[in-house]
């Protein structure tokens, strides 16, 4: 897996490319966190479009980043949720704590409207 990152104002947009499992999470977990803290980001958007595989370790990774945003007073949003992600997200209760949007633009709009900027 590779992590592609971009941003809009204080929203960090994380786009994992490839397999989001224990192996890739272990190797890349620190990258987004360092970036989030260094640049004082507040909100996170996960764009899951390029995720080819995900298991509970991937869900755990998203949960961990959610906590980071929460501590910063921000929110976490999900974009491009596949059927596979949806099944795991339902089991873990992920949708109870973060919202899903059809596009990155829609997620940015909503984050802005929540005033978390």
């Amino acid at each position: 897996m590779q992590l592609s990152m971009s941003f809009y104002k204080n929203i960090l947009i994380i786009s994992p490319i490839g397999e989001l499992d224990h192996h890739s999470v272990e190797r890349h977990a620190g990258e987004a966190d360092r970036c989030f803290k260094m640049r004082n980001f507040k909100n996170i958007i996960f764009d899951l479009k390029e995720v080819t595989f995900i298991d509970s370790s991937g869900i755990g990774y998203i949960l961990g980043r959610y906590k980071l945003a929460l501590l910063a007073g921000g929110t976490t949003a999900l974009v491009n949720v596949s059927d596979q992600v949806r099944k795991l997200a339902a089991i873990s209760g992920l949708f109870k704590i973060m919202e899903e949007y059809p596009s990155v633009e829609a997620a940015i709009d909503s984050t802005l409207r929540k005033g978390n900027i």
Binding site: D21, H22, H23, G60, I91, S92
Partner: protein
């Protein structure tokens, strides 16, 4: 009735997680090549193998065994580690339970195996082994 078997033994390192789930999917593919079916198999195997590495051997050295068996209508998978074992299997199977909450674990691995497969059985002796049996009908 046609039966087929495969037995794999590999090092308990995270780099083998994708190897294990792809091997299981490749084994099942002849009977059912539906993407949804194979994704379920891959996810369940990934959960079991990751548990061996993270919990069974606590990221230390060890070996994992994966036994695959298929009949005409059902795929059977058994995954074993000879690590720390599970003291309370009922607790371990409880949705959202994890013994490692600090490591960003969602505590859903066993629930995922249960939901993605038709059958899940866990056998373990503390300090000796943990063996997870799963099966899924090709339908």
């Amino acid at each position: 009735m046609m039966e087929n078997r495969a037995f794999l033994k590999f090092n308990a390192i995270s780099g083998n997680e994708s190897f294990a789930r792809l091997a299981a999917a490749a084994f099942a593919m002849e009977k059912n090549s539906d993407m949804g079916f194979l994704d379920d198999i891959k996810t369940a195997v990934s959960e079991a193998v990751t548990n061996c590495i993270v919990h069974g051997y606590e990221e230390g050295e060890g070996e994992i065994e994966m036994e695959l068996r298929t009949t005409d209508d059902t795929l059977y998978i058994a995954i074993t580690d000879y690590g720390v074992g599970i003291e309370d299997i009922t607790l371990a199977r409880t949705p959202l339970y994890t013994s490692k909450p600090s490591e960003n674990r969602a505590g859903i691995g066993f629930t995922v195996m249960e939901m993605f497969m038709d059958e899940l059985e866990i056998k373990s002796v503390k300090g000796e082994y943990t063996k997870v049996f799963m099966s899924k009908n090709y339908r």
